[in-house]
């Protein structure tokens, strides 16, 4: 039977009639000892402390924040350097502002938004609601494909590109996403207690969208198929890398 999200109403007090096989819970006071629940304490407190990892595995809040800033600055530096080496597209003066907004401004904002949502701790530190995360993880990359697909050519003589250039552009975009993904893995290791898959997909998708906006500044090829499959394909691939690879590191 599948869980239905339509309203199901019942009184949780019903459950109190079921006896507890382990006996009454003695609360969470510091006076409780393992012996009270019939199990021997596997290790004392001191050995447990000594068994805890030192070095890079010991991440305090301060260290985590520092790691995140390093990741953000490193990623921006990397993208800036790549864009500087590649150069801004030579026909920028002929591209309408609406086109630039749709393929540069909007993806950049959406990408930052995706990452912010992924990092939001939620009420209990377990992330935002699953439904919201799932929806954004699917809609944001799909939204880029839709927006890119609906754009008219910026001007009549704009170069369209071909399959080979499309593949090249996809490879370049993926290359640009790799270092930010690695930095994200470093900064977000053991950070997501709940919904690690969706949150990591949002981080990957967010990185992909930011790289796509940088790609639109670099790449003069403007065929719809090029934008959708090469640039958009890199966004999708980045989101998938986030969901399946990054999540292995971020999940607690």
């Amino acid at each position: 039977m599948s869980d239905s999200d339509s309203d199901f109403d019942f009184d949780p007090r019903l459950l109190e009639s079921i006896p507890d096989p382990l006996g009454p819970r003695a609360g969470s006071s510091a006076s409780m000892r393992f012996e009270q629940i019939g199990a021997e304490l596997p290790v004392g407190i001191q050995p447990a402390l000594q068994a805890l990892p030192t070095g890079s595995a010991r991440r305090t809040r301060t260290e985590l924040q520092r790691a995140r800033w390093i990741a953000v600055c490193g990623s921006l530096l990397w993208l800036g350097m790549q864009l500087g080496l590649s150069g801004i597209r030579g026909d920028m003066s002929r591209v309408p502002w609406g086109y630039t907004l749709a393929l540069v401004g909007l993806p950049c904002v959406a990408g930052i938004g995706c990452i912010a949502v992924a990092l939001a701790p939620g009420r209990l530190g377990l992330g935002l609601r699953t439904g919201l995360l799932m929806m954004l993880a699917l809609l944001c990359p799909a939204g880029f494909l839709l927006v890119g697909g609906l754009q008219p050519l910026p001007y009549p003589e704009v170069p369209l590109g071909n399959f080979q250039f499309g593949l090249l552009c996809f490879n370049v975009a993926m290359g640009w996403t790799l270092l930010p993904l690695v930095l994200a893995a470093y900064a977000l290791k053991n950070s997501f207690v709940g919904r690690a898959g969706y949150r990591s997909a949002l981080v990957g998708g967010g990185i992909g969208l930011i790289v796509a906006s940088a790609s639109a500044l670099r790449c003069p090829l403007s065929a719809v198929s090029h934008v959708v499959f090469s640039h958009g394909g890199a966004v999708i691939a980045s989101a998938l890398l986030g969901a399946y690879a990054l999540s292995r590191v971020t999940r607690v």
Partner: protein, 194 residues
């Protein structure tokens, strides 16, 4: 917990004392095995230590810790390829005790009911078991349990109720003590039948 997250290792002793027993019970209920629960507790405490920097200041610790413990249990179950776990409820001495008083008889019945409950919990899907354990035995609200399980409050209610129905049926076979509260029968306004 906030001190611990900020790097105060001395706070770990306090965190360990408070969380340890609760987590052990939770893992015992999920896994049905004392030995496995202790192993899982070790892993859970290690993951809590590794993830402490990401703990949200001021948030409630227990749901966060339960979510980590649940992840540990799920990883363990996947690693063991969901091999059936032998519940220690079956290991207990089942030979009839000589009943000498009403109090002793009541004690025997209570023990048998507890065994039935544990067997029923281990026999059902982990999805239902988790929801039931969090709400009934660990005292989490429906909303908090939904956060821990990464699902909706409605789904938690449904799963917990389904688990309750199964256990109640088993107890009824025993002639057990479970009775629904008067005037509070569950109803499904969606019409989705169990």
């Amino acid at each position: 917990m906030s001190q611990y997250a900020d790097g105060d290792d001395r706070a770990f002793a306090v965190v360990f004392e408070i969380l340890g027993p609760r987590l052990l019970r939770f893992l015992r209920r999920l896994s049905g095995s004392d030995a496995l629960a202790q192993d899982l507790l070790q892993d859970t405490l290690l993951r809590i230590h590794q993830a402490r920097g990401s703990f949200r200041p001021g948030a409630s610790v227990l749901p966060w810790a339960f979510a980590i413990a649940r992840n540990v249990f799920l990883d363990s179950a996947r690693a063991r390829k969901r091999s059936p776990i032998k519940s220690h409820a079956d290991d207990a001495d089942t030979s009839p005790e000589p009943v000498v008083s009403a109090e002793a008889e009541s004690h025997v019945l209570a023990r048998e009911a507890a065994r039935v409950v544990e067997r029923a919990l281990m026999a059902m899907s982990s999805v239902r078991r988790e929801a039931f354990v969090l709400v009934r035995f660990e005292g989490l609200s429906i909303v908090d349990a939904a956060e821990v399980l990464g699902t909706t409050p409605n789904a938690v209610k449904l799963r917990a109720f389904q688990a309750y129905e199964v256990i109640r049926e088993e107890l009824a076979r025993l002639g057990g003590t479970a009775r629904p509260l008067a005037g509070s029968a569950a109803r499904a306004s969606s019409g989705s039948a169990p």
